[in-house]
Symmetry: C2
Subunit: 290 residues, 2 copies
DNA sequence: CGCCATCTCTGACTAAAGTCAGAGATATGC
DNA sequence: GCATATCTCTGACTTTAGTCAGAGATGGCG
């Protein structure tokens, strides 16, 4: 009945009218949409005026006026930037935080209402995650982070859970050779997290060793991010980091149950080698000269 | 990391900015968005001015002016309605059709571009279908249609395909008692299709018999529509139609592999009865007095 | 036919968004 | 230290969207 393009366009129509409804609901607080958007951007932690302008795609004149209105309402204060007095930094006043909280409550109620009328929540949420990731694809950032950071630990948790589902015998971290966090910090290695609009959707670790090579560990892409070629991007970033650290040889181990991963390695210049450790889980071993 | 509400809101953010981009791309043709929307509504077959106004949520004055602009551009012609000279009917001129085609091409290119950058098309499309159905939930219409109509045949095809996947031994329509189309037309019975923005997403047949009861057949809800309680709505509509036809007793057969269906029947007043036909596929039989 | 309802159109507004040029303050590089 | 770039702000617009009241034409119905 419907070809792929028509399906995308049906989605676009549905979403366009939903976004319209969402926007008009923000008008209920007696403030034009532009001002409400600026207030919310500040509330969500964007303080640098130029950054907000950029994020919302506003002209500098318009932005300035919207800020002025919010100041007149007593919701926002602006000050010069600490390091650069040309820039301005906006913060919410007490009243501004109250007003922002009201918008937040509105948004939350709406989201809850949408979920409540659906009886297959998890499937719906997974679909939303997938689409959100696909739509924000170009804005995914790959950030080096501490392997003990909240984001990194979240990724690792999801990664272990996935291994548990994919391996017939399950997966128990304590049996695996859990890399020491300090081996995945500079200068020995690094840990990279892919972030899509505050949500971690993938990671990879570069673990330094004392054996003349570094290892790639914990390559993971969230189910919602499959299809975005995130694995490839993460591997490229890890290899770049390795080159930057002067590393000449990389190794990794994996399991043949993770077919996509194996394919990715083979396609990007890795070659299979004999087992080089005694970890019980992996059954495939690769290396790559940089 | 993320609770359900945050996930919905992440989706909202992603989609809001995507819709913004989509809208502004329509501005490329030198026409304000309002006029472009009217042109496209006409191009998509909405000709009655009041209907367009209603669909786009426009004030009558605004609508009138937008139409006038399109007429001045030579893209649209309006005439009195055949049966009611107060109403106006808008049609595209030759130039209007060209312009509409340009907008269509733009939309299609965008949709294709979005799909092209993703390597898991079918999963992505399924997610979009699901969300589009959830968002347009209140606008789903249940229409009585001929069981030989294109929409009905599409639904039945999907239904059979699903049975093929769900039954261990597969499903072959020719072995099943394929109901005669005329038994699912008034006055013997009916066939109801659920339509969400032109896409059929579910169906149910009411099949008249000469044995003192009618049968419910072919209850189907598209995978993308699961969770919308569409099965319940379709059954209610079928029962209402049966009552309208003076039918006092309904029967149906189903298979225990279709667990949700069985649950639905039990929860809505149906009681299990012994086998009443020799169809090889069903293993569960129900009836309900109206 | 007359009355009232319905539909479209016009005039006269307002509000919001967006544009553009230039001024003033501050940073940066040579 | 000076020229140049960057950032914000103001004034002076324009465009788009939307609102409201009322006029004019037509339809439905007793």
């Amino acid at each position: 009945m419907l070809d792929p393009v028509s399906r995308v366009r049906r989605f676009n129509r549905a979403v366009t009218s939903a976004v319209g409804a969402l926007d008009t609901s923000f008008l209920g607080r007696g403030r034009p949409l532009g001002a409400a958007r600026v207030l919310n951007a500040i509330g969500h932690g964007r303080s640098d005026v130029a950054e907000i302008r950029d994020y919302l795609g506003l002209d500098s004149g318009l932005m300035s006026r919207l800020l002025r209105n919010l100041e007149d309402e007593g919701l926002v204060e602006t000050n010069a930037h600490e390091d650069d007095a040309r820039r301005r930094v906006a913060t919410l006043t007490r009243a501004g935080r109250r007003e922002f909280a009201a918008y937040e409550a509105l948004s939350n109620t709406q989201a809850e209402g949408f979920l409540a009328q659906h009886s297959q929540r998890e499937a719906l949420l997974a679909a939303m995650d997938m689409i959100a990731s696909a739509l924000t694809r170009e804005r995914v950032t790959l950030d080096e982070m501490d392997p003990r950071s909240e984001e990194a630990r979240y990724c690792l948790g999801e990664y272990y859970a996935e291994l548990g589902r994919r391996f017939e015998q399950g997966f128990d971290v304590s049996l695996s050779r859990d890399p020491d966090a300090k081996d995945m910090r500079r200068p020995r290695g690094t840990f990279i997290v892919a972030i899509s609009d505050t949500l971690p959707i993938g990671c990879v670790g570069l673990k330094g060793t004392d054996h003349g090579y570094a290892e790639i560990k914990r390559l993971w892409a969230a189910p919602a991010a499959r299809g975005l070629r995130l694995g490839r991007r993460l591997m490229d970033a890890a290899e770049d980091a390795a080159r930057g650290l002067g590393i000449k040889l990389l190794r990794l181990d994996t399991n043949s149950a993770l077919a996509e991963a194996g394919q990715l390695y083979r396609r990007s210049g890795w070659s299979e080698i004999p087992r080089f450790n005694d970890d019980p889980y992996p059954d495939l071993f690769f290396e790559k000269h940089l």
